[in-house]
């Protein structure tokens, strides 16, 4: 009697409920957003292309026949198609990286630039503009800047041998991020205020207006590589979102996993910042939306974030180029749409949030 054991005739044992494995509705919402955004992006613009023309073009391309309307073909294949692909890749990359970092740092307020990827990329880009690089050169400088900044943060973090390694990394990211911010300010002060400064300002606000078919491989290859690595590790990322001691006692090699996740997430962030400039909001908010749809487990969260992030950024980019006669910088629009949206969601979703 002193040590009561649960009897084998326990009433609870027969009552094991059917376990909810997934919320399939959530993923279909994300896919719906993606498809609707894609149709809007391809049909809307300075020249409206009806859905029937789009259908005809796709049909004739599949048949290998000549296009019925050359103007439609040029607009879709040379202009809107590449830009839509770039928006999908950038949105997916930022959302996936944001979700990965939120899990790794066990903090839902973290965004993909927490380790200085955006600040490093921005410094690279303004330096590229300052030294009058070409478009491709500026992109490469931004990409290298993002990777170098995070490598520096990681290196500094690794030299601190005591304390929670996750917290140390976070603090190193904040400190070096602000240092890089000072560097950006310095370059802007030194820049030619009539030629270079407007270009820098516009770059820092983010835009996909410069997306060309030729630039796509340098964006899509690193994004695909990093995203595949993160998708492969996605179940381990559940374990990595536990406190360090817990994850290690479960048998996870935390030091090695953390390096892999940071490297993959940094690769996709740096590539997307290099292509589109600083686009806020997506990496912070989309993982929350995805978590709201499919729950916190990365097994479903990561693919849903990718689909939803791509779809939403494509939608916002379409608005950016169609709302006003002059194109609105992407970073401004994401903040304008994202902030109120986020607040509404915060107020309504008291449960199932994290």
């Amino acid at each position: 009697m002193e040590h009561p054991h649960r009897a084998s005739s326990d009433p609870l044992k027969g009552a094991t409920p059917a376990v909810r494995q997934s919320r399939p509705g959530g993923v279909s919402w994300a896919v719906l957003v993606l498809v609707a955004s894609l149709l809007l992006a391809l049909t809307q613009g300075r020249i409206d292309i009806p859905l029937s023309d789009l259908g005809q073009l796709v049909w004739s391309l599949l048949q290998g026949a000549p296009a019925p309307n050359e103007q439609v073909q040029t607009i879709l294949l040379q202009v809107r198609g590449p830009r839509a692909l770039a928006a999908l890749a950038v949105g997916a990359a930022l959302a996936v990286a944001g979700a990965a970092f939120q899990g790794l740092f066990r903090n839902p307020l973290v965004s993909p630039d927490i380790l200085g990827a955006s600040a490093g990329a921005a410094l690279g880009a303004v330096l590229g503009i300052f030294f009058s690089f070409g478009v491709f050169g500026i992109q490469m400088a931004a990409f290298a800047g993002g990777l170098l900044a995070v490598a520096l943060v990681y290196g500094v973090g690794s030299t601190v041998r005591h304390g929670d390694p996750v917290l140390v990394l976070l603090l190193a990211g904040i400190v070096i991020g602000s240092l890089l911010g000072a560097g950006i300010g310095m370059v802007k002060v030194l820049a030619d205020p009539y030629n270079q400064l407007p270009a820098m300002t516009f770059w820092l606000l983010g835009s996909l207006a410069g997306a060309h078919a030729n630039d796509l491989p340098s964006l899509i290859a690193p994004v695909a590589l990093g995203t595949v690595v993160l998708l492969l590790l996605r179940w381990r990322m559940d374990v990595m979102s536990l406190p360090e001691d817990e994850a290690r006692s479960l048998g996870a090699r935390t030091t090695c996993l953390r390096l892999l996740i940071v490297a993959a997430a940094t690769l996709v962030t740096a590539a997307s910042v290099a292509a589109a400039g600083i686009v806020g909001w997506v990496g912070l908010v989309v993982p929350h939306l995805a978590r709201f749809l499919v729950g916190p487990s990365f097994v479903r969260l990561l693919p849903t974030s990718a689909v939803l992030g791509g779809g939403l950024l494509l939608l916002i980019d379409t608005l950016a180029r169609t709302l006003a006669p002059v194109e609105i910088p992407l970073g401004i629009l994401t903040a304008l749409i994202g902030s109120p949206f986020f607040i509404v969601l915060l107020r309504r979703a008291s449960r199932g949030w994290t």
């Binding site: 002193e2 040590h3 009561p4 054991h5 649960r6 326990d10 609870l12 044992k13 009552a15 094991t16 409920p17 376990v19 909810r20 899990g103 066990r106 903090n107 839902p108 041998r161 005591h162 492969l232 590790l233 996605r234 179940w235 381990r236 559940d238 374990v239 979102s241 536990l242 406190p243 001691d245 817990e246 290690r248 006692s249 479960l250 048998g251 996870a252 090699r253 978590r291 729950g295 916190p296 487990s297 097994v299 199932g352 949030w353 994290t354």
Partner: protein
Amino acid sequence: MTALLHADGLSVGYPGRVVGSDLSLDLRGGEVLALLGPNGCGKTTLLKTVLGLLPALAGSVRLLDRALSAWPLAERARMVAYVPQGQASTFGFTALEMVLMGRTAHLGLIARPGAKDRAIAQQALDRVGIAHLAARSVHEVSGGERQLVLIARALAQQPRAVLLDEPTASLDFGNQGLVMRAIRTLAGEGLAVLFTTHDPNQALRCADRALLMRGGRVLGEGAVGQVIEADGLRALYHAGVLQVDDAAGGPPVFLPEFTDQATKR
């Protein structure tokens, strides 16, 4: 019977700060060892060293016939499981998802848990009596239930020893009973169990042996009936202790003294 986990002449602590020294303990299958001592006496540091989360400053920890530090991480996790204090996790995983994480050491780097792992996790939930919570978020359940989820996760590791850090801290009265019952279930199944606690009555009723620690040293070690007695507890906590005997012959109950009259005894 030889010990599953054996620590000898152990110094524990952090670089430049020794928290405890000359510590020894044995942990055997089917046996529950309670670790008692005042706040800051080094219980948690000892626990983390025995788990291999902190390196030993001196002395040795052996798991079966090998030094603990010589065990690869995953193999060690298949032998020894850790149940931390049940603080809320950042993300509201379901109880089943949480327990499935116990399968980490059994799965490859890019593998995801399959049907077999799911069955093991379900069974682990069942063994601690919370199968009905499988689909509930760990943010929605009570503190005691969350502790049981963590114990189920330790079971899903299929270890031979389970080490629990103050498993009943900040739990209400009823939940403390649930957790103690789960601990007895583990030992009944042949697992070696070590837990730290602030309640000598829990140790007396739930554990087989007790280790008393003060100021980083062992004050006493042995069968609970022998080491948990009024004078020993006074020396351990430097406090007055009131003993209430059970007329029916069961183990006595110890209470901290707080009236003037009694502290003079």
